[in-house]
């Protein structure tokens, strides 16, 4: 029996792309940077599909900074995010996550839209987007809609992307009123590590060290990124000290549901999830999460 052969198409504009998707069946596979799709083609996880390359669409490019909002095109690469002054101002935790994403080579190709749509529990751009309540703009030939990232990502690899839709951009309210913007990641090595646990944290501290507002999002400790209103409410109004964070231990344990996998055990993830929280008491990210100088 003949296996169906893969096909490829690269639309030049967003209109062309959504018109094209209307005519294609659900056997099409969208790609932007192509880094994940290339490995899936190699392993045989996908074969005989129609590959729709979105990398030429100008509408998916660019980072636009407005007064209170940051709009990031889904086709923006991780390198562009890591070096963007607008992202550094409006979403510093995302900039930090982008800087330690994959390797230089992968950051030069991989896009934020691809990382979101992959919906990996360990995706490094996701916790920073969750703490800023990112909204995603999805476009099809008939309509445009917005959905929060929490509703869009439904499980590992499962997203609320309807047939014919393309993720156009990510909208973030700038996190200007927070004093701490953190992204910490634990992996087996510094470069090219899939996160064992990661944590994005935004904290607004009063001059005397009281947590006025806090948002926390853990990755790789549940099927999707975890934000816990109970943990956040518990910590609000309390001093940012080890004792306070330690008291949140049981609440954090309730919020997460990690698994054993090839990278780490569930028990280890449970301890590290709280360990990363403790790091909020230090001024900077741990040396592990930034590039070490040999």
């Amino acid at each position: 029996m003949m296996r169906p052969k893969a096909t490829y198409v690269r639309p030049g504009t967003l209109t062309e792309a959504v018109d094209l998707l209307q005519d294609l069946d659900d056997r099409c596979k969208l790609l932007a940077g192509g880094t994940d799709v290339a490995t899936e083609l190699r392993s045989g996880a996908i074969r005989g599909r129609c590959l729709v390359d979105l990398s030429a669409l100008p509408e998916l490019k660019g980072i636009h900074e407005a007064e209170e909002e940051l709009v990031i095109g889904s086709g923006v690469t991780l390198s562009e995010i890591a070096s963007s002054a607008g992202v550094a101002r409006g979403a510093p935790a995302l900039a930090k996550a982008a800087a330690v994403f994959g390797s230089r080579q992968i950051r030069n190709m991989a896009t934020i839209g691809g990382n979101i749509c992959r919906a990996s529990p360990a995706g490094d751009t996701l916790p920073p987007l969750y703490v800023q309540d990112a909204e995603l703009e999805l476009t099809s030939s008939s309509k445009t809609r917005r959905v929060s990232i929490r509703d869009f990502i439904q499980g590992p690899g499962r997203i609320d992307l309807k047939a014919g839709e393309i993720l156009k951009c990510i909208r973030l309210k700038k996190a200007a009123d927070f004093t701490m913007h953190r992204f910490d990641k634990i992996g087996n090595r510094k470069a090219l590590a899939v996160s064992i646990v990661n944590l994005a944290g935004l904290v607004a501290l009063s001059p005397d060290g009281i947590i006025q507002r806090i948002r926390l999002a853990w990755g790789s400790v549940a099927p999707t990124v975890v934000r816990s209103s109970r943990v956040e409410a518990f910590l609000t109004g309390k001093p940012l000290r080890m004792e306070t964070l330690d008291q949140a231990y049981p609440l954090v344990q309730d919020a997460i549901s990690p698994i054993d996998d090839a990278r780490a055990s569930a028990a280890y993830r449970r301890r590290v999830a709280v360990g990363l929280l403790f790091r909020l008491t230090t001024q900077q990210e741990s040396p592990d999460s930034i590039m070490d100088i040999a």
Partner: protein, 163 residues
Amino acid sequence: MEPCRQVPVAFTINGRAVSLEVAADETALHVIRDRLLLKGTKEGCGIGECGACTIVVDGKAVNACLMLAAQLQGRNIMTVEGLIEKHELSVLQKAFLEDHAVQCGFCTPGMLMSSCALLKDKPRPDKGDIVDAISGNLCRCTGYQQVVGAIQDAARRLFGEKA
């Protein structure tokens, strides 16, 4: 515009204009090695982890194994073969040789392309920049110190002492 199995692509590689048809699911690495017979670019892991297949596309280092051949369309590609200058090794290549940054040599083309992209972007890199630039390139022989040293040497020879 129709999806097709064979995709016509035209691009520049090491200064030479090339046009050919590639399969929809073929990688850039396959085209470079097996169609254009530029065997300097190596296939190590094939999944973007080792960096042996690093090439420079429009000035940026990327993994050729993670790039679809169809995505070569309109791009300017440089492989390790393109480093040579007037039949002589480039300053960067000579520095690798002289500083013993090459042992088995399998990672070397990728290391060279990552560092070539770095030096174009940042002619006077500090050690941290260099370590960052080659952190996606695995080497199982040298222990990296000689590689970092060679890149520092090349930068010095090309652009003078670090500011």
